[in-house]
Symmetry: C2
Subunit: 163 residues, 2 copies
């Protein structure tokens, strides 16, 4: 199992960053790799969503359960149906108050590539190749996702300031 | 100017992590690259320390001013005299409450390599080489420093639990 943490400082209030994180349907508008998001089920403190995402230049879909802790400003996500090379994928979005106009955003991943079947993952990769591809995708998408939340929160902040 | 952020989750209470961060003289015991630390000056909310650190297999020394914000659990550091290839180096150690036994630790860096003199940085590197070396050192030492604080905080935590 691999673990990764990525962080970015957002020049916007905690509440505004949280609003963007909670709005999973809005992800398709702000995360370039995310093509579409559909909420399959929703209840107090959780969402189950189907995501269509470009990973390593391929379109993958998976279903993700998100447990929202509004008090701690943490969203724990867990893929229920994974993409073809993914064995398991979970982690957290965490937003922390740094000062009234600054938020520390952290994204964590716990993941492992899918076990090979007849020596191959997704019919065409060795176990090592699948691990390398998945690790690279997590690195690339973490940076892109954090930057996308930062950009959107700061864009909204600039609009408020301009009023 | 380059900006970098690195993060790690520490399985120890916020106060314990903060104690380790504040004890700059203790860094020589817990950070493998840090050979020695001497406090040159200290006052309410700040420390000025001389650090002797192994960087890219060379021993470098610099003087760092650290401003401690105990309420926000943030230490802002700034090198007053920099290492030979460093033009400027500053950033923050930030510790956030995640739950009573878990702390989010973040380390940021804002830095730039030193300007070349007669076409060379530190008498032997091109500007591009100095930038590459410095970037690699920040990446390597960030991961090592965060892991060192995590290891020490969790070691102390295990001792408390064993009592």
């Amino acid at each position: 199992m691999r673990h990764a943490e990525h962080a970015v400082t957002v020049n916007a209030p905690l509440d505004d960053v949280w609003d963007i994180l909670v709005d999973v349907e809005g992800y398709a508008d702000i995360f370039p790799p995310t093509q579409a998001v559909a909420i399959l089920e929703e209840g107090p403190g959780y969402q189950i969503a189907k995501l269509t995402v470009k990973v390593n230049d391929e379109i993958n879909t998976w279903t993700s359960r998100r447990d929202l802790d509004a008090e701690r400003r943490v969203i724990a996500y867990r893929q229920l149906n994974t993409a073809p090379i993914v064995g398991s994928m979970s982690g957290e979005w965490r937003a922390f108050f740094l000062d009234p106009n600054t938020t520390q955003l952290v994204l964590t991943h716990d993941y492992v590539a899918r076990e090979p079947v007849n020596g191959a993952v997704a019919g065409r990769f060795t176990a090592e190749e699948a691990d390398t591809l998945l690790h690279a995708a997590v690195e690339r998408n973490s940076v892109a996702d954090l930057e996308a939340v930062k950009r959107e929160a700061e864009r909204r902040q600039a609009r408020v300031a301009a009023r």
